[in-house]
């Protein structure tokens, strides 16, 4: 009601909010992250263009790391279950999130996929995002690290064209390096471009086909996971028990 005379007219109020539009997603992501840290599950959000070799990297990871660590994957796909099928064939328990027309995964989709998936038993959970260099970068899923797969055929200037994606990356995997002899990719230019969008540029060269560089990628994962273990010890009593069985 009108404050001045009580005439019953409506009044207009201006409310200062300053609230993140993705606050609801961020809350769910924080909830996912808390679960992962509590259980010592190292969650990797693997992003990249369609065809950049995300699934092949995970198949190679299974060959290199599967014998000594428990791996699992959730694969986001517009229409099919094919990526998850490939991962299961490689010995990695995998579930699909079929997004329909959605171009990215969000924290709620990941949370729903965790129900009924034995993620608590894992050392590493790979979330293979929908193939897309734009939208997935906007949504926090609760991951420990963001990894971007960039294939050698995509060109040196990809980081400059998609700065949002590469800024969020903890690591860029240059994939399909077995094809380098057939291409004219200038890797120093690619590194220079990364340095303009990624404050701490980190690039590893891998070939899922020949296995080149996969050892370095697996050591990177193991080092980062040990870092998570230390954070866990600091945060929870359970972390101490898990680290010293």
């Amino acid at each position: 009601m009108c404050d001045t005379c009580g005439c019953g007219d409506m009044r207009i109020v201006s409310l200062e909010v300053q609230d993140r539009i993705l606050a609801a997603n961020d809350r769910t992501a924080a909830h996912n992250r808390e679960h992962f840290v509590e259980r010592g599950v190292f969650a990797v959000n693997l992003m990249g263009s369609p065809g950049s070799g995300k699934t092949a990297v995970l198949e190679a990871t299974a060959r290199a790391l599967g014998a000594r660590s428990r791996l699992g994957a959730i694969a986001g796909d517009l229409e099919t279950d094919r990526d998850a099928e490939r991962l299961r064939a490689a010995g990695v328990p995998a579930a699909s999130i079929t997004t329909g027309s959605a171009c990215h995964l969000d924290a709620e989709m990941v949370h729903r996929a965790l129900h009924g998936f034995p993620w608590r038993e894992l050392d590493y959970l790979f979330v293979e995002n929908v193939g897309n260099l734009v939208c997935p970068a906007v949504y926090d899923l609760g991951q420990a690290v963001n990894v971007v797969a960039l294939s050698v055929t995509e060109g040196e200037d990809k980081p400059l064209k998609y700065p949002v994606m590469f800024r969020k990356a903890d690591l860029v995997l240059l994939t399909k390096v077995d094809l380098l002899p057939h291409l004219e990719l200038r890797i120093p230019e690619l590194e220079e471009a990364l340095g303009r969008v990624m404050p701490q540029p980190a690039l590893l060269r891998v070939s899922a086909r020949t296995g080149e560089g996969v050892g370095g990628w697996v050591s990177w994962l193991e080092t980062r996971r040990r870092g998570l273990g230390r954070a866990m010890i600091a945060a929870t009593g359970e972390g101490v028990r898990r680290e010293t069985p």
């Binding site: 207009i12 109020v13 200062e16 909010v17 993705l22 959605a102 700065p163 340095g195």
Partner: protein, 112 residues
């Protein structure tokens, strides 16, 4: 095109606020979108126009853009966007000071 899902998140947030205050209409929303947020303001505005209904059906949307700003975490020196993201003096990686926001700043609504 994630702008539609962002607009839905925005509408949910605004409608919660409007209902809590028994608003009869929302007149105007102000949002801020950073150059490094991954959101295209034009697409966001289009998605908003197509999605508004109910209490929001007459709402105008003001979008304020913010540029990416980087600085050295040690000495505070500004590092221009587009250059190597490292402080030459301190040899430290730059930190993003602003430019990744997707913020709802203000709601103007009609209340009894």
């Amino acid at each position: 095109m994630h702008e539609y899902s962002l607009v839905r998140a925005l509408a949910d947030r605004v409608l919660d606020e409007a209902r809590a205050r028994q608003a009869t209409a929302v007149h105007r929303l102000a949002v801020r979108i950073g150059a490094l947020s991954g959101v295209e303001p034009e697409l966001f505005a289009t998605a908003f126009t197509l999605c508004r209904e109910g209490l929001l059906s007459g709402a105008e949307l003001d979008i304020r853009r913010s540029e990416a700003a980087w600085a050295c975490p040690q000495c505070g020196e500004r590092i221009p966007a587009g250059s190597a993201l490292r402080c030459v003096g301190c040899d430290r990686p730059a930190r993003l000071v602003s430019g990744d926001e997707i913020l709802l700043e203000r709601i103007e609504m009609e209340v009894p």
